[in-house]
Point group: C3
Chain length 167, copies 3
């Protein structure tokens, strides 16, 4: 049986990893409510000051640019019809103060009493631990339209997230 | 280095928070299977005895009323066509024995060999810790139909869930 | 106040449970990126060597068979149109080195600039802890088409996952 100091140190390290995963779930789950309530500051606050959100239409660079996403004509038209940006449960791999998450995002928009799947995308989130907690350094988002690029985001995810015990 | 007692107490508190988050994920993930298998008792058992489920059509008040959701004509018609109530990964903020969760719910129903997005809603879950574990005190659910009310549920979520380290 | 040994042992056991839940989330979140990037080895590596994936069309038995899923004409047609296999946040119950998870899966496929809900299914994942971490022993997947069978997967989930405190 290891001594008390060893066991405490192991617990502290393992718990830190679990907390990191839960904090990253929380971060990713925060994108939808922020963007769908047109809160540009809340959206951009998920990123680092110099973070990048590389979308299908163009890369948004830095918090001021990212905050402006809620004012684009496309996004406004979604919100006027009724809009939910739903992120999937992501795969996460943590390496010290950096992490990568891979997952899907769906945008559902209103369409005459029902909703349609406006977008289905693959996402790679590159995250960093800051003094304020985990933030997005770079998010890559591409529509799963049958071309190779969006699938490669998923393929990189497979490489980034080896399936093994978390401890 | 803090002493052993201090480290143990910190670990116990931090682990409690992580467990609470996982228990709330589990609670919210339990709604769909309960309602889609027409198990009214399992649905209402997620709420406190005096809990409220405030839906688009009307508020359901207390467990007996909530259990009856599975017998409404609308819900029965969904289940007959094939139905999945899918909750998104929620944002969660815990404050002692209370918690708030914010997220989306989608209802997918069968439509001639494929499925359609019957409903896309915003949700605010107000939760309490009971002797039996976390339960729903109040769930507010509104269709994201382009009006302001459903978006305000998401805006309240942004205010309720500040993005910061969980520890 | 319990003694230090008792508190350490309790922390170790509780943390193990939290880690198991997070590892199972990660495993289930890994299915989509593997199958949608046509990586048969990554798909089958989620299962045990003798694992079974019992789908609507037929059971796939063992890793070699399961890996072949990415080469079926149906799956290839999905990927060519653009495809996302999105797993829901699952319910999980752990019993030592075994676990059961219940949840939904949606397949979204491209359709002329938008996406459609190609499939909405119920899933029962029977998992085992191996030396390499949690793996799928048996996954049962059925389309929620209004018939009783797929709903019974959800009803079994309700029985498998009693709602109570995780600790």
């Amino acid at each position: 049986m290891p001594d008390i100091e060893t066991r405490l140190a192991a617990l502290e390290q393992r718990l830190r990893d679990a907390e990191d995963r839960l904090a990253i779930y929380q971060l990713i789950a925060s994108y939808g409510p922020a963007v769908d309530s047109l809160d540009g500051a809340a959206v951009s606050g998920l990123w680092t000051e110099d973070g990048v959100y590389d979308t299908q239409s163009r890369p948004f660079r830095g918090r001021a640019d990212i905050a402006g996403i809620v004012n684009t004509a496309l996004h406004r038209s979604y919100v006027e019809r009724g809009c939910g940006h739903v992120m999937s449960l992501p795969q996460i791999t943590i390496d010290g103060d950096k992490a990568v998450a891979t997952g899907y995002s769906n945008v559902f928009t209103g369409e005459g009493g029902h909703w349609r799947v406006e977008r289905t995308s693959s996402n790679r989130w590159e995250l960093v631990r800051t003094r304020q907690g985990w933030r997005v350094k770079h998010r890559l988002n591409r529509l799963l339209d049958g071309t190779i690029g969006p699938r490669e985001i998923l393929a990189r995810g497979v490489q980034s997230h080896p399936i093994q015990e978390t401890e």
